[in-house]
Amino acid sequence: MSSTLKRIEIEALASLESEGVPEERRVVQHSVDVRYQLQEFFLTVDLESAEEPLAEDFGDRLAERFAKQYADRYGHANLGAPIEIVTLRTRVTGVIDSAEERVSERAGDYGIPHSTRPVVFDHETQDTMIIDRENLLAGHAFDGPAIVVEDTATTVVPPDFSVRVDENGALIIRNLEAERTR
């Protein structure tokens, strides 16, 4: 148990390092999901360190800590009843400053570069704009149907929805029908 937690910790810290988080800003917290035998739902109990499970009295310590947390949540506990560990967790946090506001480039006078493809919405085939997210700049606006593609996500804009790109490059999508009835 201890070696598994340690292995995850080393892996996760390396990943933080590769992202440039300085050593003093890396925080590690190990925990285990615990329940009484035969239960389904569990509580997450924090550990002192990855080494804590090596302690001789770890079983008792964990049972007590779990019982206390269980009593806080449910008003009673069954100290002494068999407990099960369901999941080992290691959470590694890089404490970073909040990001600077990113201002997107303003759109010019020209239209939005896109291709057109037939897409089925609600059983009906419609010619639909396919837009690369990189081509969207602050101030751009268009109506659905459209599909915005990027490396990490695909945004489907159904017919009767409109899109406006704000100062930070975020897509503000509105339901035209809801707007009308407001």
Partner: protein, 564 residues
């Protein structure tokens, strides 16, 4: 009452905003209790299925807030605290006491439904009750988990009148009596503690509310909430034409004498803003276990009433005031000791559908055709070869619901009696128990034809990986799910053991039947009844049903003259 009088009589005391806050706080307190019970429970029937209900009551046992849970437990948790008071008087309530009761003739259901409740005190004043009811897997009945052929209550397990489970905050010997009488004591005591945890949550929430608003404001809000609820219901009842409406149906049998059907008869009398449900003409209590206590018969009638009169509001102490009920002691609906009560709900499901059928001529736009209507229970028990541990399961099977004016019935839903109970996920079942679910599907062509068609039933097939026993309680093959206004009836239930093999066997009810590893059992539930004449169904809807697999091409040709 004019608006002005109304303003003077109640809103003058508590403003409507506070009333709404308190109404929602009470409902949310009940939801918190339910979540506590489910999250700390030990049995899948609770943490996956949700076979439980909780409520907060006032000192007069009126419901302040209740979780959605099982509709069939609507407004009968209060019978338990009332039973204590009838026996011992009001002075019996003491802080930090917890009470337990599962007597079928008091609580109305089977012994497996255990009610645990506690008085709530604030600064030494008794202000109400916190109450929970949950299904316990085994009560020490002659067969594991409950028998399909019990003939008296003594075969059904441990029966507790109202007794103290905790006294002044300490467990009593009753806990020990329970753990020595049930088959799965570890799990059962775990579930018991989950219920007590839910009680504590309810007690805390109620104390917080009283501390914040004061008991006077809460009581005034309660009166206003009850008044509104009653007014809405009376208005709806008053709109039903006065008259006497009747409906009847039969249960297949009592599980012992398989050839004798059991009639259930309902007479509804509407008079102004009052409505009376009379079931006294129903069968005498039976030898087999299809009896229930009066409390459950009243509950079922309340469910039938609520679905028609006030389906969209939470029930509370103001609900059901326009409703009176007549139940005969010694009948299947008003069982007296020592009647067997294990399958206390089959006639109750029928009764709920009968309320709709009786009132169909008066409320054609509100009523619904009959549903599959029964829990259609499969119970399995054995010793798991992987762990050497004994197991027991109890599952309700989904079926088709009836159609109504403007909509087809829903397919594969739990029956009305069970409300928000969920079917157990296949992954969970296959992990915990030594069997495989080899098929689970909505069964086409089981729902009835009509202008609006009935929903389809479901097929669930089990393949056993070790020797075990199976109990079955499948109902409503004689009174199939009827249609309304020309709609036809849905299919009946069908259970086949080893389908397609030389030893193939059809049956609907059986107690602890031995099964061998490799045996298969296939359960198919009924589809719901149709609404309106087949000739009036939109041909486009028929074509769409064929395309979407709700009905087969042959069925469409046969019933609707479909030519595609």
């Amino acid at each position: 009452m004019t608006l002005l009088e109304h303003a003077e009589s109640s809103v003058g005391r508590v403003d409507p905003v506070t009333v709404e806050i308190i109404r929602n706080a009470l409902t949310s307190a009940a939801n918190d209790m339910n979540a506590t019970l489910i999250r700390s429970a030990y049995s899948p029937i609770l943490y996956e299925g949700g076979d439980c209900v909780v409520a907060l009551l006032d000192v007069d046992h009126q419901v302040l807030g209740q979780s959605a849970g099982l509709p069939l437990f609507l407004g009968n948790l209060e019978t338990c605290s009332k039973a204590v008071e009838d026996k011992y008087g009001k002075q019996v309530w003491q802080p930090d006491d917890v009470w337990i009761l599962n007597d079928s003739y008091l609580g109305g259901t089977h012994l497996n439904d255990v009610t645990i409740f506690a008085p709530v005190f604030v600064d030494g004043d008794h202000v109400g009750f916190s109450a929970t009811r949950a299904h316990w897997m085994d009560m020490g009945s002659k067969d594991v988990g409950g028998s399909m052929d019990s003939v008296d209550i003594f075969q059904e397990g441990l029966r507790m009148g109202p007794v103290k489970l905790h006294e002044a905050g300490r467990e009593t010997f009753v806990v020990d009596i329970i753990s020595t009488n049930v088959r799965f004591p570890y799990q059962t005591i775990g579930d018991m503690n989950a219920m007590i945890a839910a009680l504590r949550m309810g007690t805390n929430r109620m104390q917080e509310l009283v501390a914040r608003y004061g008991i006077t404001t809460i009581e005034a809000s309660r009166d206003e909430i009850f008044r509104q609820t009653e007014a809405i219901e009376r208005e709806t009842v008053a709109a039903i034409p006065d008259g006497v409406y009747e409906a009847e149906g039969v249960l297949d049998n009592d599980g012992i004498d398989l050839d004798t059907p059991i009639p259930i008869r309902l007479k509804v009398t509407v008079d102004g803003d009052g409505i009376d449900f009379d079931v006294t003409e129903s069968a005498d209590q039976t030898r087999g276990p299809v009896n229930c206590g009066v409390a459950q018969a009243v509950s079922a009638l309340r469910v039938g009433y609520k679905l028609l009169i006030s389906p969209d509001t939470n029930s509370n102490g103001g609900s059901f005031r326009p409703l009176s009920t007549q139940v005969r002691e010694g009948s299947v609906l008003g069982a007296v000791a020592p009647a067997a009560c294990q399958w206390y709900f089959s006639h109750l499901g029928l009764l709920i559908d009968l309320v709709s059928k009786a009132l169909a001529p008066a409320l054609p736009g509100r009523v619904v055709a009959a549903s599959h209507g029964d829990s259609m229970i499969i119970n399995t028990a054995g010793t798991d070869p992987r762990t050497g541990r004994d197991w027991v399961t109890m599952e309700a099977t989904l079926g088709g619901w009836g159609a109504w004016d403007g909509s087809d019935g829903e397919s594969a839903l739990i029956n009305s009696v069970n409300g928000s109970i969920k079917d157990l996920p296949i992954e969970m079942v296959e992990t915990k128990y030594p069997f495989r679910i080899s098929a689970y599907r909505i069964e086409p062509d089981t729902g009835a034809p009509g202008q609006w068609r009935g929903g389809n039933g479901a097929t669930r097939e089990y393949e056993f990986l070790s020797d075990c026993t199976v109990g079955l309680w499948f109902e409503r093959s004689r009174t199939r799910p009827w249609g309304l206004f020309g709609g036809e009836a849905g299919s009946g239930p069908e259970v086949v053991i080893n389908p397609g093999h030389p030893d193939e066997e059809h049956l609907l009810k059986v107690n602890a039947r031995p099964m061998k590893a490799g045996d298969v059992i296939r359960l198919t539930t009924s589809g719901g009844g149709g609404y309106g004449r087949v000739a009036d169904r939109d041909p486009k809807a028929v074509a769409s049903d064929v395309v979407n697999g709700h009905i087969s091409r042959e069925y469409a040709r046969r019933h609707y003259g479909y030519d595609g």
